[in-house]
């Protein structure tokens, strides 16, 4: 489904590569977690895979297609849930979703039905006509997710979809993502919540300094790491305990 070949990104003026010679294969139906400390290169990698950032070198294909030759076809195939709330604060939840859904070519009753269904699943039906500026962080996060999945993408990229939300919102989001995965969506997901990733992901890759340092099925990674009881133990052994502050 996704084939990444020696993908690199070095920002203009930067000393180091944010992503360096990264190769990865994601099979259809997998939920692939990209884990790593701050500044590891997770968001940069997702930005390249979603056409937001130009790679310095390397290549990748999604479903055998690349952005250079099949831009609109690929954009229709993938869904993106960015880390920031990418919503118009003065539009209602429904209006936001109606607009973003329209940009995928969905219209009329189909769009309206899809929006209502998703709002219902996410527990936001009664807030559909409220401006998103008045929403809590968890509510905005859920609308943000719906905006990325309205067009039923085959591949879904999620950049920290549960950051800064309460447990209830997190559960709703994760449950819905599991449902989408069951319906056939391949999911690429970044997170700092390692416990969440451990139970949610079928596969994970731990990234540090722009490179994959370990990858595999979470349970196997835990089993193979001496003294590790969970994914967090594996993560700390692999990436160290030093702080990763950067500016």
């Amino acid at each position: 489904m996704i084939q990444i070949n020696q993908l690199s990104k070095k920002y203009k003026g930067a000393e180091f590569f944010s992503v360096k010679d990264l190769s990865l294969k994601v099979e259809p139906g997998e939920i692939y977690g990209l884990l790593g400390p701050n500044g590891a290169g997770k968001t940069t990698l997702i930005s390249m895979l979603t056409s937001l950032l130009k790679p310095t070198s390397g290549s990748f294909t999604i479903n055998g297609l690349n952005f250079k030759d099949n831009k609109n076809q690929l954009k229709q195939l993938i869904g993106i849930v960015p880390q920031e709330y990418a919503l118009y604060p003065t539009l209602t939840a429904f209006e936001n979703l109606q607009y973003f859904g329209s940009m995928y070519g969905i219209k009329g009753e189909t769009l309206k039905k899809s929006i209502c269904e998703h709002l219902e699943i996410m527990g936001l039906s009664k807030f559909s006509d409220k401006k998103t500026a008045t929403f809590s962080g968890g509510m905005k996060r859920r609308v943000n997710l719906i905006a990325g999945i309205l067009h039923q993408p085959k591949v879904l990229f999620l950049d920290e979809p549960t950051v800064g939300v309460d447990v209830q919102s997190k559960n709703v989001i994760i449950d819905h993502l599991k449902l989408l995965n069951k319906q056939g969506a391949t999911i690429i997901y970044t997170s700092h919540h390692l416990n969440e990733a451990e139970v949610f992901c079928t596969h994970v890759a731990i990234i540090d300094n722009g490179e994959i340092i370990i990858k595999g099925i979470p349970s196997e990674l835990i089993k193979n790491q001496t003294g590790a009881n969970n994914l967090e133990d594996v993560f700390l052994v692999q990436t160290g305990k030093g702080l990763r502050d950067y500016a």
Partner: protein, 434 residues
């Protein structure tokens, strides 16, 4: 590749364009304060400027300006000057005793003008005229004894003018011209009078001292009716255009906001092209421009006469006026789209946009007519879209031109919109190329 029509999906781009337009419309209507500023401020600007300009006009024509006058001559000429100034209905003469006193009052800003008539002006002028007339008569052998005087050097006399340093150049020029004309007339009349005396005709005037050459302004006509321009027809096009171009500021801020709030990032991941996104903004802001224009016209037609200003006559010109407003709006929107695409922050977009509009207005002839600008600036003004718009409005309002005659300016405005929009699209494409 997306086409206008996609089998099974219909008119995809049209649907996206409509969705973008609808979204922009809602965003705009939710910002009531913003709408009020968009519509009320230009109207306020138009009313204030027209009132100010109208009162300035009245200052010159209807209202008498107090002028200090120091009469050191106390003769026939100074009497003539004072009478002429009083008759002009423009000045109220206030006599002062000394030049110093008058100068101090004017330089302190208490009065706008002081006129100082030099000592012995009448005597010197008469001597000079006698000398010249005597010289001429001698050539014809008609000279009488009374005028045979030895050739004396008569020093030139100067009437001194003191202006308040804050007085505008245009006012100074018109006053100087007026006084110059008046003095010339007095000199000419003295010469005629002297000739008459020397020729022995004391009772019946033998010279007609009235101007022989007169001038008449021929104005454009519509049918048999003469088009008489008024300040409303000058001000409304100029300041409407100024307001229309100010759309650059909210439009560029709108685009920058999209980038800052993350919605533009999401849009970049959707299968919609940048031209469609800009298309939605263009349509909504174009409607805003046309509403602005309509309000300006309504103010000119109905409010101006009610507050004592000259009313706006749009009869038979409405369609052409809207055409000019439409394309001027497009030119302004093109510039706003380009600025919003390039600017990274609102702090860049807002001050740059507003300053740019002021510069374009200055270049376009909104404040100072292009023909009085230096040659170099006149050339630059030819590439200002505000100049094309303003001239097109004047063509319709004041020069009674038809569609074919304003078409070149309309095409320039359209070309400007297309160029700026295409540059914005290419810039965005290059910046976000993957």
């Amino acid at each position: 590749m997306y086409f206008w029509y996609k089998p099974g999906k219909g008119f995809v781009i049209m649907h996206k364009l409509w969705a973008s337009t609808y979204k922009e419309m809602i965003l705009l209507t939710r910002d009531l304060g913003g709408i009020a500023i968009l519509f009320i401020m230009p109207l306020l600007l138009l009313i204030v400027i027209t009132l100010v300009q109208d009162s300035t006009f009245k200052t010159i024509s209807d209202v008498r300006i107090p002028v200090l006058l120091v009469d050191n001559d106390q003769g026939e000429v100074s009497k003539n000057i004072i009478e002429n100034l009083a008759e002009s209905n423009s000045f109220e003469i206030l006599l002062k005793n000394t030049e110093e006193e008058a100068k101090d009052a004017v330089f302190a800003g208490k009065y706008q003008l002081a006129i100082v008539i030099p000592e012995n002006l009448s005597t010197s002028l008469q001597k000079k005229v006698n000398q010249n007339v005597g010289g001429i008569l001698a050539k014809f052998g008609l000279e009488e004894d009374s005028l045979i005087t030895p050739k004396e050097t008569i020093p030139q006399k100067e009437v001194r003018l003191y202006f308040d340093p804050a007085t505008q150049v245009s006012f100074k020029s018109s006053v100087k011209n007026g006084i110059d004309k008046m003095i010339s007339k007095i000199e000419t009349q003295s010469i005629y009078k002297t000739f008459q005396t020397e020729l022995g005709e004391e009772t019946e005037p033998i010279f007609d001292t009235e101007n022989f050459i007169a001038f008449k302004e021929i104005r454009p006509t519509k049918g048999n009716k003469e088009i008489i321009p008024n300040s409303a027809q000058h001000n409304i096009p100029a300041w409407t255009l100024f307001a229309i171009f100010f759309i650059i500021v909210p439009l560029s801020i709108n685009l920058v906001k999209e980038k800052n709030q993350g919605t533009f990032v999401r849009l970049r991941t959707t299968p919609v092209n940048y031209a469609t996104v800009l298309g939605g903004k263009t349509l909504v802001y174009l409607v805003v421009c046309l509403i602005q224009f309509t309000l300006m016209l309504l103010v000119g037609i109905y409010l101006f006469p009610a507050i004592g200003l000259p009313g706006l006559d749009v009869s038979g010109k409405l369609a052409m006026l809207y055409l000019v407003a439409l394309f001027s709006g497009l030119a302004a929107i093109g510039l706003g789209l380009l600025l919003g695409t390039i600017a990274e922050t609102q702090e860049q977009a807002a001050p740059f946009g507003s300053t740019l509009v002021v510069i374009l207005a200055a270049l376009g002839g909104v404040w100072v007519p292009v023909f009085v600008m230096p040659k170099f600036m006149q050339l630059i003004s030819k590439i200002s879209p505000m100049n094309w718009g303003l001239e097109a409005f004047y063509d319709v309002f004041l020069r009674n031109m038809q569609f074919a005659e304003i078409l070149p300016r309309i095409l320039l405005l359209l070309l400007f919109f297309l160029t700026t929009t295409i540059i914005a699209i290419i810039y965005n494409q290059r910046k976000n190329a993957v």
